[in-house]
């Protein structure tokens, strides 16, 4: 029985093939994920992977890993990255470049913006079906919350709450302009 199951199981998959992209914006780049649905053997490892390749000034909308830690390794280019912890403190605000590694714990919010022509990275996640939640965008936490909760939570007008909720139509990648780094938190 092992021949038909373990020995014949597929154990490799290529993440560098844009035609398999899960997120794709021609002007901005693509993101592909590899989880246990794509490669069943990952279920045993309880691990998954993500490959990103974005152009200059493309921003990966602020998000957090809901059920996994993420180990980010840069393969090409540079990006400005900010990470916020459970205390609301910015624990990383800097440039990551080729060959560098950054660990982003579960729940920590992260935003990435490419500052070189091409920024390419791979992320290893400690869950076979890693899930993210985003702070902005059409499928974000903001879109899922009632306007009442947003306007009362942040003490903003219903009109402002509407903008916060609906203005960003992208789901994962958007274009950013202006300076990429903003100095240390107040």
């Amino acid at each position: 029985g092992l021949e038909e199951t373990i020995c014949s199981a597929r154990s490799t998959d290529n993440l560098d093939d844009p035609s398999n992209a899960d997120v794709y914006k021609p002007q901005l780049g693509y993101i592909s994920t590899l989880n246990s649905y794509d490669l069943p053997i990952l279920r045993f490892l309880r691990l998954s992977a993500l490959r990103g390749s974005i152009r200059q000034n493309a921003m990966v909308l602020p998000q957090w890993n809901a059920n996994a830690n993420a180990i980010l390794y840069v393969t090409d280019g540079e990006a400005q990255v900010q990470v916020v912890n459970d205390n609301g403190e910015r624990v990383f605000d800097g440039q990551v470049s080729q060959g560098q590694l950054l660990a982003i714990p579960q729940g920590f919010a992260v935003v990435k913006r490419a500052t070189s022509d091409q920024f390419r990275w791979v992320e290893f996640k400690t869950n076979a079906n890693a899930q993210i939640n985003t702070l902005a965008g059409r499928t974000s936490i903001m879109a899922g919350l009632p306007l009442e909760v947003i306007s009362n939570g942040y003490q903003i007008s219903p009109q402002e709450a509407r903008k916060v909720k609906f203005n960003t139509l992208e789901t994962t990648l958007t274009h950013a302009s202006g300076p990429a780094s903003y100095g240390r938190p107040r």
Partner: protein, 265 residues
Amino acid sequence: QFPNECQLDQLNAIEPSHVLKAEAGRIEVWDHHAPQLRCSGVSFVRYVIESKGLYLPSFLNTAKLSFVAKGRGLMGRVIPGCAETFQDSSVFQPGQQGQGQQGRGQQGQGQEQEQEQGQGQRQSFRDMHQKVEHIRSGDTIATPTGVAQWFYNDGNQPLVIVSVLDLANHQNQLDRNPRPFYLAGNNPQGQVWLQGRQQQPQNNIFNGFPPEVIAQALKINVQTAQQLQNQQDNRGNIVFVKGEFGVIRPPLRGQRPQEEEAVGN
């Protein structure tokens, strides 16, 4: 776990060791370093939400199972990837909508609103959000890790919810400490249950990002982005809702939807 953590030669009934006061209620936290809780690998929390109190959205680093001990209210969750299946365009009474029309009277704002309308049919809804449920005493609520959750007390007595946080659960990828992440509001007292951390006020997750980045991500102005950081706000994480809480909600159990009654005539 550390070795011998379950070497317990005596058990005792324990009370909450930390109380976080907020504008419309309090959050009572049992010390998860107490030997019996440490051995069981859990933390325990009690939320007491006053009438018209809103516990602001937050998520945790581990799975949580809650029990509504007293009172009734509404509960909302945002599960990654789920659609906003609660949609309605007539949640508010005509008076409120008049308010919108007033906005339209102010030319600039009116234009903006029409422009928003122009951004696609979806925005003609009054609001749409993920599922909201009525909760009442006896309800047991499962919350996976990383799923944001909020509560609102629409009853007349305090809504009391007790929760066990399973720190030893495999969904917890961090250490054996309960780590709430606040999406709104803040906790001026800090995470007092954590040992070894210099107690600083705990802010919401937007607070750590530069307002400019938030503004770009949400496509809003920087002033509103700063507002999302709740920095001038000392209400805590349970706040009073002024006026009506017009969230789209299903009819209560046993309550027949209005349309059916109309048919009944």
